[in-house]
Symmetry: C2
Subunit: 205 residues, 2 copies
């Protein structure tokens, strides 16, 4: 769902997008390609990583490292990796717990395991429809980014602005992913309370 | 600081308040009493717990359980305990980690250890000046509460309204404290980024 939303948005903005999956013929990826026209294609994780200038990790957090290993270190090297994933564990029922938290984060683990990749954590604190269409809310609120590479963050900020995001907060280095990932427990509670995933956090002063 | 802010606000609203400390003659508590007039007094944690109809836990999270044990089970029994504390561990430097998180929370630990007390987690997601004066922000944002006892939460909501809080979100039972306590890591990052603790979370739709 997250990859579909972000991929479709990028295509609508004129970018060429390859959707990566475990197999080159993943049914949902093929359907996504056929819905999105000439700029869209699909392939394996490795195909997509080799194809892209900027990579989006839209996998579920528990399999992100495996997916990135399948994508291939050589295909990711030197590139920006926008990490949208959250390390949620639903295996013990609701509410989910986090598989990584407190003194570490998924964003940091990915950065440590892929030292040649410029990891930018972004967009992981909201529903995927809102990620690519902040105007769905009367007050869109904030989107948070963090990462160790300033120029990579600047490129991601440009992309987010092209998604119509105006209030982007750069929280600093990738260790700030601890903060944005640990916001998920209250996000999930709020979704239950409000009865909808269509809300966001706004920082007010 | 938190106890001072909340105690002073309660006195200003006409409540009798006793500030509890380890000793009955704690210097800051004595100074607080002398600043706050006839409705203010101070004593030991046990004195304060015996005195109060509603108890506020404004201790630092790492010593909250010890302070509550000093307050005395018999003095707390049947009462509402508003838990404002966060289980932050600054001992390993900045940023702090959480001593309890993910599958548990300080609010839950207190509720389990004091089963006869009606724990309501509230106000722990913001600076203490803002807790008692939401009008300090142009947009005050939200205050979150949670707890297992509906009538206790209703009483706390009334108190929060008397502090001028309008947008109160009841997140459900005390396990929602996992969410509000785990929001602290991003709060601390935001404080560094914004250069001020005078901000809040607003849930926008």
């Amino acid at each position: 769902m997250v990859g579909d939303a972000i991929g479709s948005k990028l295509v609508s903005l004129g970018h060429k997008v390859m959707m990566g999956s475990r197999t080159a013929t993943n049914e949902k990826a093929v359907a996504w390609t056929s819905r999105n026209g000439n700029l869209a294609s699909n392939g394996t994780f490795a195909d997509a990583a080799a194809f892209g200038e900027i990579i989006f990790n839209c996998t579920t957090g528990q399999v992100s490292l495996e997916a990135l290993q399948l994508a291939g270190r050589e295909n990711l090297q030197g590139k920006i990796l926008v990490d949208v994933a959250n390390p949620l564990d639903f295996s013990k029922g609701m509410p989910p717990s986090l598989t990584i938290c407190n003194t570490d984060s998924l964003g940091e683990v990915i950065q440590r395991q892929f030292t040649d990749v410029k990891v930018v954590k972004a967009l992981n604190t909201m529903n995927c429809q809102l990620m690519v269409n902040p105007g769905l809310l009367n007050d869109p609120g904030n989107v948070f980014i963090c990462g160790n590479d300033a120029s990579a963050k600047a490129e991601v900020e440009n992309l987010l602005q092209s998604f119509a995001w105006e209030r982007i907060i750069d929280l600093g280095d990738i260790s700030a992913a601890r903060g944005t990932e640990q916001i998920l427990p209250i996000w999930i509670r709020l979704m239950g309370k409000l009865g909808t995933p269509m809300f966001n956090f706004s920082i007010v002063q």
